[in-house]
Structures are given as C-alpha cells and as structure tokens.
C-alpha cells in the first residue's frame, strides 16, 4: 500500500463525518431555502449549545471506558442551585456560579470514587446519581417552575450577544477547543485514552487508572454544571425536569462524532459536529413545518442512517459476510 493512498484513505476516514454533515446540509438546503441563512445557522448553533457544552466534558466518561448518565439531572439541579444562591441567599453572581460549579465537581468526584474504588459499574452509579440529583432538584425547587428574574449579569450569559452571535456559542466553542486540546495534547488526555483502550496495559505503563477515571467524571459533571447554568439563563427558568433526557442527546452526539462507548477513542470536534447535526435535523423539520409529533421519529431514523454511514460498512460487504462461503476454521 502506497503512502499516498493510505494518507488519502485516512483523510477520508477522518473527515467522513464532515462529509455526512455537508450531505445533510445540502439536503436541508434543497428542502428549505431558508436553511442556509446566517441567522438560521446561528440559531441552530444556539439551540445545540447546551448539548455541545455538555459533550466537552462528558466525552471523557466514554473515552475512559465508562458512561455518565447523570449529566441531565446535574444540569437542571445546577440551574436551581444557582438561582437559590443568587436570588434567595443573595450571594454575588461570580461566587454563586463558583459554588454551583464546586457542587458539580463534588458530584463528579463521588461518581468517580464509587465506580473506581467501590467497583460499582459506572452505568449504575451514574443512573443512581441521575435519580438522586433529580430528587434534590425537586426538593429544593419544591417541584415548581421557578422564573429567574435576575441578576442581569446572569441572564446575559444565555441571551447576550457579542459581535452578533449569542454568548453560549462562544462558551461552547471555547470549551470545545479546550477539551480538544486536553484530549489530544496533554498527559491527562493520553492517560484517559490509554485507560479506555486497555486498563491493564495502561496500569503496567505507570498510569493510575482510578485517578484518571475520577478526573473524567469530574470533568463530565463540571461541564454539565456549566451547561445547566447556560440553560437556566437561556430559558430564564429553573425547573427540575428541564434537563431530563439530555444524557441521551449527549450520548447520541458523542457517538455520531466517532467516540466509541467501549473506550479508547474519542473526538471532541466530532462530538460537536454530532450535536450540530442533531440540531440541523430538528431545525430542518421546523422549517418544513413538520408537526412536532413526527420529530422524534424522523430524528431517530436520520441519526441511525448517519451512524451507519459513519461506520463505513457497505451493504455488499454485509451480504458477502452473511451469505458468502465460510472461512475454514483456523
């Protein structure tokens, strides 16, 4: 195999997702002329920024071979906590946000310690966290939808604009860049990938798998907290069920982006593209005036097609494997 051919193939593999995104955009442009306007594209980015922000930290759970199902509940709860701190306890904005973030970090620490030191599978640990965090949110908010009236600085986070673009988009892009850098260029990133790829081998190479995993869960909870603050500000609402189901949107985005749930691989930029694709699909359906009750059905099918395309397995190959001559036993 020549070097050029292998490079070309790798390039194609690396950018396959991007081509799928372009394909989707082309289809949507044909279906609706409004799709490809700056205003609309900016709206889509705005709508996916909560998922996009969550992805930047969440991705370390699957990269290290785990999962974090608590990010949705964590996000709702952080909006409620921030509101209580700012509007009931009258803590200054910056401090309130810091305390909220600190709480998120604490939850991640607990998730990480329980999965690594107590050896409870992360699926179970974070599912429990999802439930008890929702419980705390319900208790603190009394189950009510709280409208957040201020402070102004807080509301600016979600709806303010800078150079014509909403601030959450900047937060998402900055966190994506930072997370991409963390995964690809730092010692922690290398260790996270190694632990996910083969924990035993990583351990024998001097990596502390438990420590690495604990940090991964802290990052996941931490960014979920930031996403929750943005969500509360954007919707001017603190409501316990607000973040319900976000964990699955985040998993979808990350998986479309080429991150294996088995660990050892991950792409932060891919996850962002995945989130944007989901956003585009929803946006396209809105532009086409499709009734909301059809949205989940269509979204599900399009995601499935995108995932199949991204696997790079062709139908003839499957048929050959299924019906072709069986290999002689080795």
């Amino acid at each position: 195999m020549s070097v050029v051919a292998s490079k070309a193939r790798r390039l194609l593999a690396d950018f396959r997702l991007f081509f799928i995104l372009l394909l989707l955009m082309a289809v949507l442009t044909m279906l609706s002329p409004m799709f490809l306007s700056i205003g609309n594209l900016s709206n889509v980015l705005w709508s996916v920024c909560i998922i996009g922000i969550m992805c930047t930290g969440f991705i370390y759970a699957p990269v290290t071979g785990g999962i974090d199902l608590s990010v949705g509940s964590m996000a709702s709860l952080s909006g409620i906590i921030a509101n209580v701190l700012m509007n009931n306890a009258h803590v200054p904005l910056a401090l309130a946000l810091l305390i909220t973030l600190g709480f998120g970090v604490l939850v991640g620490l607990v998730n990480g310690i329980v999965t690594t030191k107590f050896r409870v599978p992360p699926f179970i640990v974070t599912m429990a966290a999802k439930t008890y965090l929702f419980g705390i949110a319900m208790l603190v908010s009394n189950g009510d939808t709280i409208t957040i009236m201020g402070p102004q600085g807080f509301l600016t986070i979600g709806v303010g604009k800078f150079l014509g673009l909403p601030i959450p988009i900047y937060i998402m892009l900055v966190l994506t860049a930072a997370s991409h850098f963390l995964l690809k260029q730092t010692v922690f990133g290398r260790r996270a990938i190694a632990v996910g790829a083969n924990e035993v081998s990583a351990k024998l190479s001097g990596v502390d798998p438990d420590r690495t995993r604990i940090i991964a869960y802290i990052l996941s909870s931490g960014t979920a907290t930031i996403a929750g603050i943005v969500m509360a500000s954007l919707t001017q609402q603190a409501y316990a069920p607000n973040g319900a189901g976000y964990e699955f949107d985040v998993i979808t985005a990350v998986v479309i982006g080429g991150t294996s749930l088995m660990g050892g691989t991950g792409s932060v930029v891919g996850a962002l593209i995945g989130a944007v694709m989901v956003g585009f699909i929803n946006n396209g359906l809105n532009l086409m005036n499709m009734p909301a009750s059809y949205h989940p059905l269509v979204t599900g099918i399009v995601i499935l097609i995108a995932l199949i395309l991204n696997q790079g397995v062709t139908l003839p190959a499957i048929l050959r494997r299924q019906f072709g001559r069986k290999d002689a036993p080795k």
Binding site: R191, I193, N198, S201, G264
Partner: protein, 510 residues
C-alpha cells in the same frame, strides 16, 4: 499391543494423524489410542503438538489425513466440536467455561434444561433435584443451587466434570487441571479421576507435573516435535525416562549457549526473603548488572507472581528489596522512573492497546520524556516511536497504524520498543515469545543480548526451555513458590531444568 482382543476395549483410536497449519507440520503420522476406563497421560514440551492432537480429537480443528475411531465408529475428516460432544467426548480446559451468575444446576443443564410436560417452561424443581442426584452420586460437597461465583477453582472444576458426566461423556480430556489447584485440592481431583476410571470412563490427562503423571496414569504417550516417540505402559513409567524422551537428543553444538556463569558486576537488585501468602515463599536472590537471570518452573509455580511483586503491581507480605543498594518499596510509577521496564505475559490482554496507534502505545510509558508542564509534545512522541520502530525493525514502519493490526511478532516488538528507548537498568520479561514467529523471536533474543551487553539486567520468565537456557546467563528454578535450584555455572540442559521443576533434585540449594 494391537491384537484383536485388545481392539474391542479401545475407546479411541487415532492412526497416522497428520496436521499442518499453512506450512509447518505440527503432527506427523501420530498414532494414539485409549482404552476404556484408562487414565492416559499425554506429555511433551511446549509446541510438541499436544494441544493440536486434543483439538483434532475434539473437532476444534480438522486433521489433514489419518484415521480416527471412537468406540468403534469411524470419524470423518470433517469432524466438529458439536459432533464430538454428542459422541461423548468432553474437555475440561484450563480456563473453565462455566457461566457466572448461574447456579450449578443451570450450568449442568445448559441448553438441555428439563421442561414441564404440559408447557414449554423450565422445570426448575426437577432440574435442581436431577442435578443434586448427580452430585450426590459422586459424593461431591456441592449444592445444585450454589452460584458459580461463590465456588473455588477446584469446585468449579468439579462442576465441569459433572457437566461432562451429565452429558454421558465416555472420554474426558483434562488440560493441565492442577495448575491452579492447591495440593489438597489436587489430591481430591485425583480421587475423582480414579472414580471416573472405575466407572469405565477414559481420562486423557495433560500435565507437565511428572509426579502426577507417575502416580495417576495407566499409560503415557510422549510427543516430541509432532511425533509420537513412545507409549509407556504402567510398569515402564518413570519420571526421568519421560523427561529424557520429551527432550530427545539435542545438538551438542548448542552447548556453548547453555553455559551459565556467575557475574561479579554491581548488584542491581537484592531480594531477601520475599513472601506472599499462597503465591511465593522465602524468595532471595541477587541480580547483577548485565545479567540475564532466567526464572524457570512450571506454570503456577510463582514465577509471574514474583516479577509482578518486584515491579510493584501486587503487594507482598514480608521480605525486603534493595535496588542499586538502596531499600526499595516498589510501585509501578516509581519503578518506571527508577529505570525498570516490564513486558507482561499475554500480550493482547496486558501488553498492547490494540485500538491505539504505535505512537500511542509507545508514548504512554514515555510521558515523562515527552511532557512539559502537563502538555505532551506530539513531535517528541513521534520521534520516540520512530526510534523504536527503527531499533526493532517493526513492520510496517508507519507509527499511525493501530497496534492491533500488526502481526504478533511486531505487536510484541512494540511492547518491547516502548521500554527500549528509555534509560533502562532492569527489564522484566514474562513469556516474551509466546505466539510470535521465529524471525521476530530471533530479533528479540538479539535485542536482549544487546541490552545485556550494555549493562541492563534482565529477569526472564519463560516456559520455553530452549529459550530459557540459551538466553539466560543464570537460572533459578521455582517450584510451588520456592526457589528449588539455581544453575549458576557449567552447562545446563533442558533435562536439568525440567527435573528441577518437577521436584527431582539431587542436591537442592537453599
């Protein structure tokens, strides 16, 4: 031995079995037979063809030519695992195949659970009582409703045997059944084997432990390099003779490679009275600079456990280690910083990260070199990978390729390469050449020799006797967690090491 009267007693007959895997002939014209109710040991060195013969008998792989008869019925070349099971051939592998989380009864009746007569549901009550009846018939201390996870290895083995009995097996093959058993558990197993024999069941027993073979077997078949070199009757069985037959007459010219010598160089590692309960006991030795110290012994004799403890993966209970003259309490990270390297057994499970590139695999042990304030220099990392590729002639030489896609030999070179580019003082290698081709093997041997010449000490654990003897400059042989013999001077033969491993030592040291 093949007169008409004996022929009808024969459970299994194999005639002129030949098998080659794409080229090299693994078994050539092997004759093998088993009588009903016989305990028959199959012995031979690693690579002699024992497992291939078993695979052919059990239908895991097909022979190229030769005849096979089981209970008088001819078995065609296109034999299969399912067919062998339905004929009544059962295998108990070293890695047990029971399903965790299920009960003993569920495992015994897997896929043939008794159903209710009226409805297609499993009759759990009847299943449990049938299972319990079977257990009681053999007088085992088990309950049909015990969950597999709570059982000891020996008890699980018992369940495997029951499973074979439940499927009415008339030939049970046991592959190294005692390697993970304590001596009292082994004794229990031997009782069971005698019981099976009394019931007319043939037991084909594969073991490296000579004393077991001696005690237990009615006959012994010795394989060497794919040939059946001898079938010994009960009265001919004698451990020393078996060892001699297993090894045969080797070329004398290799003797130069087999000469051991003591080293006077600086002591790198000084291990004193290291103990770890149920693993090893009273281990003391010194490792000198540039020495290649071989650690021989059977699988399960504590070899791997000792090197793991020295590297800092597992804790030990008592004893002391001095490294370069200073007291040393090992943990993996500080071992690496201190100049240790570790090449684990089972490359796929412990050595490589298959989905990750060569650069990633090599980079992970060298983060101390490539990092700066927590950031990794991709350029330095790539340079290290390229150096390892060049040093070890890794093919293909593209550092971006996932290591899982390389051949076994090249995978192992990556595992070696990630240490080689470091400033090593001590390299620990555990079974470094299992499953790799001869070319890569030879290259690794040269690499070890080069390292040793440069003053790096090597601890080599190996079951491959020619490898152990030709590479090492000194050999310690372990048996049941203790050093039973040291070979520090003169010529050492495979026979010497095997005899020591089996406990046949005249003047045991220490």
């Amino acid at each position: 031995m093949s007169d008409q009267a004996a022929e009808s007693d024969l459970l299994l007959v194999c005639r002129t079995i030949t098998k080659s895997y794409n080229g090299p002939v693994v078994l050539s014209d092997v004759d093998f037979s088993m009588k009903r109710g016989e305990v028959h040991a199959l012995v031979g060195e690693n690579g002699a063809g024992k497992s291939t013969l078993i695979k052919i008998i059990t239908g895991v792989t097909n022979r190229n030519s030769g005849e096979m008869l089981f209970e008088g019925t001819a078995i065609g070349i296109e034999h299969s695992k399912v067919a062998s099971q339905s004929l009544g051939i059962a295998v108990i592998y070293q890695e047990l195949s029971l399903i965790h989380g299920m009960t003993v009864a569920q495992n015994l009746f897997l896929t043939k659970e008794p159903r209710f007569r009226a409805a297609p549901f499993i009759d759990i009550g009847r299943m449990n009582s049938l299972a319990q009846a079977l257990i009681d018939r053999y007088g085992f201390e088990l309950k049909a409703t015990d969950i597999i996870d709570g059982l000891s290895i020996a008890q699980r083995q018992t369940v495997e045997i029951l499973k074979a009995l439940n499927s009415r097996a008339s030939l049970i093959i046991m592959d190294e059944p005692t390697s993970s058993l304590t001596s009292s558990e082994s004794a229990q197993l031997f009782g069971i084997i005698r019981r099976l024999k009394a019931e007319g069941i043939g037991v084909l027993y594969i073991s490296h432990r000579m004393e077991e073979v001696y005690d237990l077997s009615d006959r012994v078949t010795v394989l060497r390099d794919g040939h059946n070199v001898a079938v010994l009757e009960k009265e001919q069985i004698n451990p020393a003779e078996i060892i001699r037959l297993m090894i045969g007459r080797r070329l004398e010219e290799r003797d130069a490679l087999h000469t051991m010598c003591r080293s006077n160089a600086e002591v790198v590692l000084d291990v004193r009275n290291l103990c770890s309960e149920n693993r090893f006991n009273g281990i003391s030795f010194q490792l000198h600079a540039g020495e290649i110290l071989g650690i021989g012994g059977l699988v399960g004799s504590g070899r791997t456990e000792i090197v793991r403890a020295l590297y800092g993966i597992d804790r030990f209970d008592s004893g002391s280690i001095a490294y370069l003259g200073k007291p040393w309490s090992p943990d993996v990270a500080s071992s690496i910083r201190g100049g240790f390297g570790f090449i684990p057994e089972e490359r796929r499970l412990q050595g490589i990260m298959g989905a990750i590139s060569m650069t990633g695999n090599i980079g992970i042990t060298n983060l101390d070199v490539t990092r700066r304030h927590g950031f990794v220099s991709a350029k330095k990392e790539l340079a290290l990978a390229r150096r390892a590729i060049e040093l070890l002639n890794i093919k293909p030489d593209n550092p971006d390729i996932p290591v899982g896609n390389l051949s076994g030999g090249n995978q192992q070179k990556v595992v070696v390469g990630k240490w080689l580019i470091r400033d090593l003082k001590l390299l620990i290698v555990d079974e470094p050449t299992v499953g790799i081709d001869i070319g890569a093997k030879e290259e690794l041997y040269q690499t070890f020799a080069r390292l040793s010449a440069a003053g790096v000490s090597i601890l080599l654990v190996s079951s491959d006797l020619p490898e152990l003897i030709s590479i090492s400059t000194r050999i310690l042989v372990l048996r049941q967690g203790c050093i039973i013999q040291e070979f520090a001077d003169g010529i050492v033969t495979e026979e010497d090491v095997l005899r020591a491993s089996s406990g046949l030592v005249e003047g045991a040291v220490r």
